[in-house]
Symmetry: C2
Subunit: 333 residues, 2 copies
DNA sequence: CCCTGAAATAATAGCGCTATTATGTTTGAC
DNA sequence: GTCAAACATAATAGCGCTATTATTTCAGGG
């Protein structure tokens, strides 16, 4: 299938294959005249380099493996899209894997990723199986963990503290004079980051204001339907509730709709705060107060770290970047 | 970095490297005793195959390149996630690329993809640059085009007719006695599929019922904010409107919120139909009538075609699978 | 002009596998 | 028992590059 090789290009340009290889990898090291001849030859032959041969010879490929819980999740989709764009500029390809929130699956994916000798591996969060850690430590592949800060990273990490997100949510509701608070969570068994947010929320609310706080959750993934259901449950169990924080904006959207149906006034009777600043959050009725996590910034910073680390082509280089997050105060609180 | 090779495994199992290779590729062709010894050896040495060496030798890799406009878009995210899961079962890896709706970028991505000698290439839609077509035709890589049916595919295609979606939307609104119709579209310059839906909508409405129909659009990507804006524009230009179809559910959600704010009764005064059946569509207030495109089915069918095609490891095999779509009638119409 | 060092180019030796072909080793029919 | 098929295993020859080292070319100072 791939007929044209580097040798063909070299022959046509009347230089050696090594020079073509050099031109492709470090154009500055080749003279202008040779460069021109090679460029013309590549053009004429419509040469497509074989990256597998290159990767094999160099013992490292131009692929970056990105492993996320699910790309169906808008947060990770944002980061993956941004990273692909940034890495693509340097002709690095993205190898994608989904763990579906399973550490076992993550381990498989890491093993598969390693067989590509990737230029870097990106993992979501800081919780991994011991085997995964071991595999990565023993390889010399750069590792970046994204979307979470807190415990010790394997090498580099880019993200923010979810527990602080919970604290900010609580502080905001308390500041709006809410003292009967509930955290609505979806799929918290698996989504450790949502759990951290809930924990921060509860602790901050109790400690700083003596508010009454509860967590009400559902095992299904986040959705407006789950949000509506959880609001119903909350009103039954805890009718005096006046402030709700949601594990994400989908849940919050469900709360808003269910409140409309039940005739509950937001923010008069109930303040609502979400997480995610999803595409609908600013346009909802009322517009949704939420926490904006910098999914794109996480992507650009992670890509930057990878690129720097490749350029250094050296040792492990522990780095932690706290991207922070923003609270967007809108009508719902 | 990757110390353990197939030779090490072979030495420890006291067989030849060829036998190990055979065991890995066609386990049935190796005797039980040899298999056991090799399996133990792999386990003990924690052997990770080098896929680049394998791919180079075989002139084809275990990577499938999936190129979508954007994984930020929930539709494509769904399909990518499904395909990754299905292909992963056969140890095929997903190489991801985003065109951001640019044919130029798509061409670059195809070129990059080909340098991996992928087991297959998946493209979104049927519109590609001539150079892209040429590249793919001249390679012998299996090609699947997803999410759109209509014109001639390069090789295989899995999707549905968007123009039919538009027709179904129009037919539905007409059946609900709506005769003053508007199609609200976001980013239609770039999203050809949305344009096809709009065209089908207009044609069906005009032809079958003599309804008054208009298309109102905005160049920004779909969002609830764009939906709200477009509704405002519609009410100004065309106050007698009684039926609205949206290019997708994000836009429809914005319409619903804006109607709440303007005191427009849905479905009393205005029927609304969306496209996508996104996670919030069933839970909104009112719940949203919409078209459900089978994003997951597209993924499983595309994966199946690829797997079959690889097993056949043969010739081009033109196949078209029409996955259809479903109209979900809910409260908004 | 020769010499030195820097710059540019070329030769060389694999990277770790697969696929094809060659060589043993059984099995079963006569 | 013999012989051909059928089966199991092994030897062989690259796949198309990169990285290292070796060689050539070219300035510019003495």
């Amino acid at each position: 299938m791939q007929r044209v090789t580097m040798m063909d290009v070299a022959a046509r340009a009347e230089v050696s294959p090594s020079t073509v290889s050099l031109y492709l990898r470090k154009p500055d090291a080749v003279s202008a005249s040779a460069s021109e001849a090679i460029a013309k030859s590549i053009e004429a032959l419509n040469y497509v380099p074989n990256l597998m041969a290159g990767g094999l010879a160099a013992a490292s490929s131009r692929a970056v493996s990105i492993i996320v819980p699910s790309v169906r999740n808008a947060f990770f989709a944002e980061t993956v899209a941004t990273m692909q764009a940034e890495l693509g500029k340097e002709r690095l390809q993205v190898l994608l894997g989904h763990t579906e929130y399973s550490e076992r699956e993550e381990e498989n994916l890491v093993r598969m990723a390693l067989s590509w000798a990737p230029a870097a591996i990106v993992l979501t969060g800081l919780s991994h199986s011991n085997a995964t850690r071991k595999l990565l430590r023993e390889s010399s592949v750069p590792v970046v963990e994204i979307w979470e800060l807190g415990s010790e990273p394997i090498e580099m990490a880019v993200g923010f503290h979810h527990e602080q997100v919970g604290r900010s949510m609580a502080a905001h509701l308390v500041q709006r004079n809410r003292r009967n608070l509930v955290f609505l969570g979806a799929r918290m068994q698996e989504d450790k980051r949502a759990t951290h947010r809930a924990e921060g929320f509860v602790e901050e609310a109790r400690k700083t204001s003596g508010a009454i706080v509860d967590i009400i959750q559902h095992p299904a993934p986040s959705s407006a339907e789950v949000g509506a259901m959880l609001l119903g449950e909350t009103m039954r169990k805890f009718p005096q509730v006046d402030g709700i924080a949601c594990s994400n904006d989908h849940v919050a959207l469900g709360v808003i709709f269910e409140c409309q149906r039940l005739g509950i006034d937001i923010p008069g009777q109930l303040s609502v705060i979400g997480f995610g600043d999803l595409s609908f959050s600013a346009a909802s009725n009322p517009s949704l107060t939420t926490i904006r996590p910098p999914g794109d910034l996480i992507g650009t910073e992670a890509a930057r770290l990878i690129l720097e680390r490749i350029a250094d082509n050296g040792e492990r280089k522990p780095t932690v970047i706290d991207t922070r997050f923003t609270l967007l105060h809108r009508q719902s609180s």
